[in-house]
Amino acid sequence: MLNIIFYFQVHQPYRLAHYNVLDIGNGDKLFDDRLNGQVMRKVAEKCYLPTNKLLLELIKQNEGRFKIAYSITGTAIEQFKLYSPETLDSFKELVDTGCVEIMGETYFHSLAFLYDTNEFLDQVKMHRELMKQEFGYDTVTFRNTELIYQDRLSDIIYEIEGFKTIVTEGVDRILQWRTPLYAYKNYSKDINLLLKYYQLADDIAFRFSNRDWPEYPLTVDKFVNWIDHLTLGETGGKNLFLNLFMDYETFGEHQWASSGIFEFMRHFPAEVLTRKHLGFATPKDTTHLANYQQESLSFPEPVSWADEERDLSAWLENDMQKNAIETLYELMARIKQKGDPELLRTARLLSTSDHFYYMCSKYFQDGDVHKYFSPYDSPDQAYIYYITALAELEERILG
């Protein structure tokens, strides 16, 4: 049996205002409320609302046989409430079907894991409480920001009561000859590991509307046949897991409605379910479905799902990114010492990984992707606004 696991990342950052040195101390807002509202309403209209509606229909049609998982960041939930409450309601409706798993992560979609373990634990706890409060859901699967993972992460997550599984990227340099279709264990065999099957996931997320791709157009039939072929090697009755992890904005935002992405999704589950050895599952199901001795995998260096490199270089490669994030965590430590909740919240909003992503200056193909997602003209401009905002934050600390 091969179980398809759809997991969608739902996230919106609080984008910074075009903050200038001359604005410091004026009491102006650090974040661009107008832009953030605009983006949220646009993405809700193009992606969240139509996709939620479609997936709800599919779940109802298939009577428990079609399942999906989400991770929804705290900053996204907050902005749903501010700018698109109907989106939050539609997610609640989805969770209420019982066919949806909600996963745990950092509330602020931050890189705290890499810089400040206590802060990381705080943000994970905040997110867990939020999921309980909004959806009545106890999270048992963890995904770190942008699927960043290394052995140390599993140690920390294992210490938190309740988490059984972590999802991350199926990086070739770790897997080598192995397939990401099996459920694995972390290096110390304490935690269940699921690895993204990036070739097939990216066919939907990145290549779906690319006319230069030899496989264009991607039809349901073709895609399900490819999936079917994956199972040929496995004849021992073991349960396999095809992890299709992607940004939720793939639907209607990255791949426009005119590309046919919604039609693809509408017909996909029915086609899968006509084949008797294919089905759907959620990450938490894998702990009891894995009917074999799970091999353990060690990730000595951090990996992620971003860019060709699948490492941290999208956020932490150049000096602008490093200077910015090091300064942030230094200020955060000072704020905690001072114990000012309002300043701490501001620092945490500034810890969202997107701010560092906008400063990425890798060129070639990946640089284009960064540019597409950035509200600023250049990485340098993004850095200037950010470092100036950190000066404002520091003046507030001194205040």
Binding site: N20, V21, L22, I24, N318, D380, T388, A391, E394, L398
Partner: protein
């Protein structure tokens, strides 16, 4: 006395100190009874007949074409800006005139015809030098070509006693006007190509500078530093050179009350971020000071070809949020940042004059300026340090941070000093130079 004046910058057309200097100078000259016809690189073919002090702000304009002028004078403009737009002036010099309108210079320049009026072999050589080097496809060169072609018309139509041209962009025009009118030419050196490039620079520009200065009857240098440069690098006849320092008059509407932005000591670099201004030395200075005084902030205000380099270097040096960038600032924003600064630095590698420190001092900010600058010759109440001596810069800043009373005292003394440096005195010298040049010219033997 009527002066035909060529300059590339004049408010609101400003990209650097040249426009500010011309503004102060022209205003003071007008108050001393000099009449000036000003030619700027405007989109439309206009000149500005300036007769009284207030004209520097209202900029009365005359179209060379009578029909166009009639249209212009019958038109009512709601705002000053609208009127300036019509003439083709904006605050960005890049938009002076459209390059589409420029005819090909090589065919348009009547070189043979120009040379026909040349008398001596020496003159011929200078014309050859100028025309042979005013060739190129770069936007700036082509704009200078167009400006020069127009100068031909202005030189014939207008009535003037003497020609005054500022910096190399207008030297060909000045030469042309002198050629036509046989009136004396004064060229004014605000900066040479050596200063701007921080190295050898563009050879064509050197040649044009050389031709202009040699062809001129008098050469005004804005400092001893510049005069030295003109003598040693361009071999200009010492007898022709006059040193008249720039001055600074604070605009009447300036708000100068200190108003902090940062709680810690604030150091300011204000100017183009380009090699000439020494931004890389500023980074090194900041790094050294921050090791001793991590509470200090270093602001870099301006833009330029080295912005990106300085930005990335400051991050690589891990100067945290202690080294900040304002980007381009307009006049009011410059005032705002000056209100917030404690220490002003000008670590220029080569600065013919440098008006910006005078402005900072007028705000009562303690200033540290490069010894390789003209402004160092005119102020006493400022620290003067070799641009490359970063250790001394850092020690001086540390000392000022540690002795705030001393810093304040120095700032106040500097303010008093700068308030005495007005354009009137400099304009007086220029007026004298006009008179003596004219007198010499009238007395010259006829050839």
């Amino acid at each position: 006395m009527n002066i035909l004046m060529f300059t590339w910058e004049f408010p609101p057309l400003i990209s650097g100190g040249l426009g500010m200097a011309c503004y102060g100078m022209v205003k003071a000259l007008l108050s001393q009874g000099i009449k000036i016809d000003l030619v700027l690189p405007t989109k439309e073919m206009v000149y500005f007949p300036l007769r009284q002090e207030s004209d520097v702000d209202t900029l009365p304009a005359v179209f060379l074409d009578p029909k166009q002028h009639k249209e212009f004078s019958e038109r009512t403009f709601k705002t000053m800006n609208e009127r300036l737009e019509y003439i083709g002036i904006s605050s960005h010099p890049e938009s002076y005139f459209s390059l589409r309108d420029i005819k090909r210079y090589s065919t348009a320049v009547k070189k043979v015809y120009w040379l026909s009026e040349v008398v001596t072999n020496e003159e011929r050589d200078l014309w050859e030098e100028m025309t042979a080097n005013l060739i190129g496809e770069e936007d700036l060169i082509r704009k200078v070509q167009e400006y020069t072609l127009r100068a031909d018309r202005f030189a014939r139509v207008l009535d003037y006693d003497l020609i005054h041209a500022h910096d190399w962009l207008t030297y060909p025009s000045g030469m042309l006007a002198k050629q036509h009118s046989k009136k004396p030419l004064i060229v004014h050196i605000h900066a040479t190509e050596f200063d701007r490039a921080g190295g050898p620079g563009d050879e064509r520009v050197h040649k044009i500078e050389h031709a202009g200065m040699t062809y001129a009857d008098k050469v005004i240098a804005v400092s001893k530093y510049t005069a030295q440069m003109i003598m040693s690098r361009y071999r200009i006849d010492t007898g022709k050179i006059r040193i008249i320092h720039n001055a600074f008059s604070i605009p009447d509407d300036s708000v100068m009350t200190p108003k902090r932005i940062f709680k810690g000591p604030t150091v300011l670099f204000l100017g183009r971020i380009t090699l000439q201004k020494g931004p890389d030395y500023y980074l090194e200075i900041a790094e050294k000071v921050l090791k001793v005084h991590p509470e200090a902030r270093f602001i870099i205000a301006g833009t330029g070809d080295m912005s990106r380099y300085v930005l990335r270097k400051s991050a690589a040096m891990r100067l945290k949020n202690r080294f900040l960038f304002t980007g381009f600032l307009n006049r009011k924003q410059v005032e705002r940042i000056l209100q917030a600064a404690d220490i002003y630095v000008l670590p220029s590698v080569s600065e013919p004059f440098g008006i910006s420190p005078l402005e900072a001092m007028a705000f009562g900010i303690t200033s540290i300026i490069s010894k390789q600058s003209g402004v160092a010759e005119v102020v006493r109440h400022a620290f003067k340090i070799d641009y490359w001596d970063v250790d001394l810069w850092a020690e001086t800043i540390n000392h000022l941070i540690e002795n705030p009373d001393k810093c304040t005292k120095m700032g106040i003394e500097g303010m008093h000093e700068v308030n005495r440096i007005g354009w009137d005195e400099a304009a007086e010298k220029i007026r004298h130079l006009y008179s003596s040049t004219l007198a010499e010219f009238i007395r010259r033997p006829l050839t």
